[in-house]
């Protein structure tokens, strides 16, 4: 018997029933529902930002908010699609137009502040209160998404991690905008880029060991 035949016999002997993953769109919808609920709870607890009505009249802010929300939704869909072996790698293109608009509006915001305040505008100020808001929303969003996508590390680790990171950052940006004002565009840009990198890092660093451990203890695909 060859080593491969032997391996097949062992894998068959080791087989346990698995709970099939729900279709990717349903999983994406489930996570987006969780994210919406989390944001709604945060808004209910902290209330809408004081200048909310005023900000709604600013077309560029509204465009930025819509672009960040759209980036979050589309990147979530892309991440769940890409996490399956037989789906097209072209799903990675889905959130790019919205992400381009979002990043461009953030970049323009930075430039406008530099023109107004000078180069000091590029140096973000991190207040502990602000950090608590950003982490309080960002970490549950990013953490839950990483957990749902952990099985993808065996197939397309980097594209899935990047899409997951983008989704987490974009939705936490859209959520934060409703109830908390970041000090400036540079700070927002740094936070969102940081959040993306954190998700990418966590998924790449721990995803494989989580996935292996689950494989050893019976993968349920929760």
């Amino acid at each position: 018997m060859t080593a491969t035949d032997d391996l097949i016999s062992r894998l068959s002997a080791d087989l346990r029933p698995v709970r099939r993953l729900a279709p990717p769109m349903r999983r994406a919808a489930g996570w987006l529902g969780f994210a919406t609920l989390l944001i709604a709870v945060a808004v209910a607890v902290f209330g809408l930002r004081p200048d909310f009505a005023e900000r709604l009249r600013d077309a560029s802010e509204v465009v930025q908010w819509v672009a960040s929300a759209a980036t979050g939704v589309l990147a979530t869909i892309a991440a769940f699609q890409l996490s399956l072996p037989d789906r097209s790698p072209r799903w990675i293109l889905l959130p790019l137009p919205a992400a381009a608009v979002w990043v461009a509006t953030l970049g323009l915001g930075c430039l406008a502040e530099v023109a107004r305040v000078g180069p000091a505008a590029l140096w973000p100020g991190f207040s502990p209160g602000c950090m608590a808001f950003v982490l309080g929303l960002g970490l549950p969003l990013a953490g839950s998404l990483v957990w749902m996508l952990r099985y993808a590390v065996a197939i397309r680790p980097v594209p899935v991690a990047v899409m997951g990171g983008l989704a987490g950052a974009a939705l936490s940006a859209a959520g934060l905008w409703l109830f908390h004002e970041l000090e400036g565009a540079a700070e927002a840009l740094i936070w969102h880029a940081g959040m993306t990198l954190v998700v990418v890092g966590i998924l790449l660093a721990f995803g494989r060991s989580w996935e292996r451990r689950e494989a050893e203890h019976g993968f349920t695909g929760a």
Binding site: T4, D6, L7, I8, R10, S12, L15, D86, F219
Partner: protein, 214 residues
């Protein structure tokens, strides 16, 4: 009960109609015509070990074909096939029975082949091909009789190790596989594999005087 009898009811769900797919290499792949693989996979997901065994053996030629087209070295290609089987095992839950199984298998196999080639590429940077040194190795000035005896003694010492320790040493240290993969290939748990590897190394060290005898 035969595997097919076990999987009978799942045919009613009816996987998608067979279709033609085109691999990246340009070869047209005819999807499994009667949905048999898909049905076997559904049964495997439900825990039917016989259906699973049948499916893995049935699709082995497809996996080997892809691996051998991608990887010139036959041993390395077979290792990629084994990596693929392990990934299939871990990712069973991700297969959607409403879709054909073949593209799912092909995608996993190609991914594992790329990983193998990358790992090999990284390793090649650190290794020196032994063929280049054939003359040096043959030269009596560089390989002394003592070296040859030491090599033979080491081989004999390894051969004398218990089967489980020898396998653990080969997979975990010589082939440098990740623990979980080495454990799956050896049929040992990760803990047992670690213990076997540790004991094998300890025995060898003791035998060659690198460690005090108990």
């Amino acid at each position: 009960m035969s595997a097919c009898a076990t999987i009978g009811p799942v045919f009613a769900k009816g996987p998608r109609a067979p279709r033609l797919g085109r691999q990246r290499s340009g070869t047209v792949v005819v999807a499994d015509g009667d949905g048999r693989w898909e049905a076997l996979m559904v049964a495997a997901q439900a825990g039917d070990a016989r259906a699973y065994d049948l499916l893995l053996r049935d699709c082995l030629p497809l996996l080997r074909g892809i691996a051998r087209r991608r990887i010139a070295d036959a041993h390395e290609a077979e290792d990629a096939v084994q990596d693929t089987l392990l990934t299939v095992h871990r990712m069973l839950a991700t297969y959607d029975p409403s879709r054909p199984l073949r593209p799912w298998l092909i995608a996993i196999t190609e991914r594992r082949c790329v990983d193998r080639l990358r790992r090999r590429g990284r390793g090649a940077g650190r290794e020196t091909p032994i063929d280049d040194h054939a003359e040096t190795l043959a030269a009596p000035a560089t390989e002394t009789g003592e070296d040859r005896i030491a090599g033979r003694q080491l081989r004999e010492a390894v051969a004398e190790l218990p089967e489980s320790q020898r396998t653990a040493l080969r997979l975990a240290k010589l082939e440098d596989l990740p623990l979980a993969d080495a454990a799956a290939k050896s049929g040992l748990s990760v803990g047992a594999l670690k213990v076997a590897t540790h004991r094998a190394l300890k025995t060898l060290r003791r035998r060659f005087g690198a460690e005090d005898k108990p």
